[in-house]
């Protein structure tokens, strides 16, 4: 059957046209041509501007006829386009009246907010032509892919071990030995490493299109170019960052990214995206016109009553997330990534902004967050909030959730850091954190999976730096060390920075192992920062957002140099996978509800069955009853974990193991490798059944069997 709408009805300067379909928004390949659709509530006119790929000047400007507009949507099919070699933009006519929120400018060529592919920064770090009238160029995208039967993995949330990484940092160092460094293809080459480590989920720092040259400058300290390296500043929400693809220069970043996801899925590894819907790269009143500002400023941004930009993001503007139009864009965007890229879940940067109304006030039931929680396409996606914003809203434990949203648990990070450092008065807090933060989540009926536990993430020190520096060393960022957090709860173990002192270095390694062990035995979802498993350092820089160099790049020679540490990480991760008692979705009841003779979890100190909650107490132990694993639905070993963060050795009186079983040592962070940790199943019998000596600032893990 021939469709009659596959033929042109109009011509304009030789271009064959017909009225387009308003939905879907964006540029869509249709029989014979491309359907262009864009909305603006306040524009008075619109032109489609077409460029040949990379050409400085457009080869066509095609106005949308009045009869090509439906409601506030301009829609038109242009036939016979060589769409693989075309870039398109829009010129919008309308009032320039900032006080009323309108900033239309007919001299600007604007990128489609729904662009699925964006050129202009195709190759990472290639100096752009700053005279180009159209810097970020929308392209027509193929959205088909041969998935070979792949689909999102849907690993139960509580079984995840998340590994946060930056696409470029992971393989850009020449020691990575991959063929295409710093790219999606490079990640594929490192999948065997990820499998060996044992993580089953990677969380990618932003991969949406951004401009690495945004606020680029030369560091007055190092003389090196500083970039917008992390990418927390979106140019386009629907397009992957072309410069992260080795094939970006050929316009195949979508295929390369999809191949990466497919290969990760084949290897049992989920992919989460860190998404930044709180602001855009257009900045404040002084910022550039890229897209939204010139298309419909009043709709896309939160504005003060006199037309200035609210700045809850700390980045100049705030996306108007609870405007119905913007809300739909965000929903469409996430649906697109979930369905077209098989993304397993999303982590929302400064997510509290998504719960503010159009005047910036926090809402009780933010419609955007509710829509995401109940959306059918996103029904199996993990939704994770960074539950605070730069405007002072802090919602850890109280983020609107509908039983669907998890949170980066900043309290876990802060309490465990202080405990490991040896701060007093933390025993009670540690109990809460190890149990999956019931103080934050149980009272709302939220599961332990609401808590993404972490000690380090991209924001702040690496784990090695957390135990090597008292203070931040961000001078290379060129901001006189003013940027970055000042309350990192770090401790340098006696010397600031690298040292040859073997005692200090042993202590640092031990502190890292202590941190990882507590993270891995805690209920909730553990997240590890990429590189921590090999002792990666940023030389004390706790805000490397602009460092596209060795400060950020993982040095893969550390895999060999710190092989003992890597071995510890691998085995501790394997331990968590092997023991469901560490991965309960339900909160503990602190009682014996299966008749095992032990509560599901019990707490101890240097005396069994007694916890010293005094201010100076730094010793605590837990016993996890294997019969209560996964709420008593499966059988597991009983596990005992003794944590001594005092600077003196202590003997911990042991509770009796289950009848017929003996305590075996799985890990002791005070012991010199390789006897610091054993393979699952090869734990070593403990000589003294009644007491275990736990070295200063050490953790011991025992298994009953």
């Amino acid at each position: 059957m021939i469709r009659i709408d596959s033929y042109p009805t109009h011509t304009y300067k030789g271009f064959k046209l017909r009225p387009g379909k308003p939905l879907p928004f964006g540029a869509t390949i249709v029989p014979g041509g491309v359907n262009f659709s864009i909305y603006s509530s306040h524009a008075t006119g619109c032109e489609l501007v077409l460029f040949k790929k990379h050409d400085p000047k457009p080869f066509a400007r095609i106005p949308f006829r009045d009869d090509f507009k439906i409601g506030n949507v301009y829609a038109m099919v242009v036939f016979d386009l060589d769409y693989e070699n075309v870039e398109y933009g829009y010129v919008m006519d309308g009032p320039f009246d900032p006080a009323q929120g309108h900033r239309f400018d007919k001299t600007k060529i604007l990128m489609d907010p729904f662009a699925k592919a964006i050129g202009g920064r195709d190759e990472w770090g290639k100096e752009p032509d700053w005279n180009d009238i159209y810097q970020h160029r929308a392209r027509v995208a193929f959205d088909d892919f041969d998935w070979e039967g792949d689909h999102p993995l849907e690993i139960p949330f509580e079984d995840l071990i998340v590994y946060e990484m930056h696409i470029r940092s992971f393989t850009c160092h020449e020691s990575s030995k991959v063929e295409h460094r710093g790219t999606f293809a490079g990640i594929v080459e490192k999948i065997p490493y990820l499998r060996d480590l044992g993580v089953n989920c990677i969380e990618l720092m932003p991969i949406h299109a951004f401009d690495e040259f945004e606020q680029s400058r030369i560091s007055p300290v190092t003389g090196k170019r500083l970039m917008n390296y992390w990418g927390y500043s979106n140019v386009g929400f629907f397009a992957p960052k072309a410069g992260y693809a080795a094939t970006g220069k050929f316009g195949m970043e979508m295929d390369e990214l999809k191949n990466m996801i497919r290969e990760l899925h084949k290897n049992g590894i989920e992919v989460l995206l860190d998404v930044v819907f709180n602001h855009t790269a257009e900045g404040n009143e002084m910022g550039p016109y890229i897209s939204y500002r010139g298309i419909d400023n009043h709709t896309y941004y939160m504005l003060t009553s006199d037309g200035y930009y609210f700045n809850f993001s700390g980045c100049g503007n705030t996306l108007n997330c609870n405007n119905p139009i913007v809300r739909n864009m965000i929903l469409e965007c996430l649906r697109y990534w979930a369905s077209e890229y098989h993304i397993d879940g999303f982590r929302f940067d400064l997510a509290s902004i998504l719960g503010r109304d159009q005047n910036g006030a926090p809402m009780n039931n933010p419609p955007l967050l509710e829509s995401l929680a109940f959306d059918p396409v996103l029904g199996k996606c993990k939704l994770i909030a960074e539950a605070w914003d730069a405007g002072g809203l802090y919602q850890v434990g109280s983020f609107p959730n509908w039983g669907r949203w998890a949170e980066w648990n900043g309290k876990f990070r802060d309490d465990i850091r202080r405990f490991i450092k040896g701060d007093p008065g933390l025993v009670g807090a540690v109990i809460q954190r190890v149990e999956g933060s019931p103080d934050l989540y149980r009272w709302q009926g939220r599961s332990t999976s609401s808590s993404i536990n972490f000690i380090t993430c991209h924001d702040g020190f690496t784990l090695m730096d957390l135990v090597s520096y008292d203070g931040k060393h961000n001078e290379a960022n060129g901001e006189d060390n003013r940027d970055g957090s000042n309350d990192a709860d770090s401790w340098n173990c006696g010397w600031e920075g690298p040292t040859e002192d073997s005692g200090t270095n042993f202590l640092r390694m031990k502190q890292i192992k202590n941190a990882l062990t507590i993270l891995m035995i805690s209920q909730g979802i553990p997240m590890v920062l990429s590189g921590d498993e090999i002792g990666n350092t940023q030389l004390g820089n706790n805000n490397a957002y602009c460092q596209d160099n060795e400060i950020s790049w993982l040095d893969w020679s550390l895999v060999e140099h710190n092989s003992d540490l890597f071995n510890f990480f691998k085995k501790m991760i394997a331990f968590r996978h092997a023991h469901p008692v560490l991965r309960s979705r339900e909160h503990f009841r602190n009682t014996d509800y299966v008749g095992s003779g032990y509560p599901d979890i019990s707490w101890h100190g240097t005396r069994a069955w007694y916890v010293d909650f005094s201010e100076q107490s730094r010793c605590i132990a837990c016993l996890l009853c294997g019969k209560h694993a996964k709420s008593g639905t499966c059988d597991d070993n009983t596990i005992y974990v003794a944590m001594n963060m005092h600077w003196e050795m202590h003997g911990f009186e042991l509770p009796s193991p289950p009848p017929g079983e003996r305590w075996h040592v799985f890990a002791n962070t005070d012991v010199v490798p390789p006897q610091d940790i054993w393979d699952v199943g090869s734990e070593q019998p403990l000589d003294n059944e009644y007491e275990v000596l736990v070295g200063p600032r050490s953790v011991v893990v025992l298994v009953a069997k």
């Binding site: 693989e84 041969d146 295409h180 693809a245 195949m252 191949n259």
Partner: protein
Amino acid sequence: MSAEYRVELHDRIVKITVKGKLDTTSAPGLSEELKKLQGREIDRMVFFVHDLEYISSAGLRVIIFAKQKVGVNADIYFIGAQESVLDVVKMTGLSNFLICKDTYKE
């Protein structure tokens, strides 16, 4: 230069020779040629690509089409690809099903 191509079927083996650039200009034509083979018994498809200079997204999709709709149960060979073309094929995941070799033996 856009692509030149030749498609031959002998003894259940399809030989496809492609030269130049396989992109939006040339890919639809090659797709049409391959469509003519749909429904035929095919054991092997062999792309001779020694003189293929560039392959675009549209070009990749012709090969995927060949696998999915023409040589469903066939082995698919990709012979003599230049490094830049082979790189693209690998990075976009086509090497999962393509048998990439320098030379072809009957």
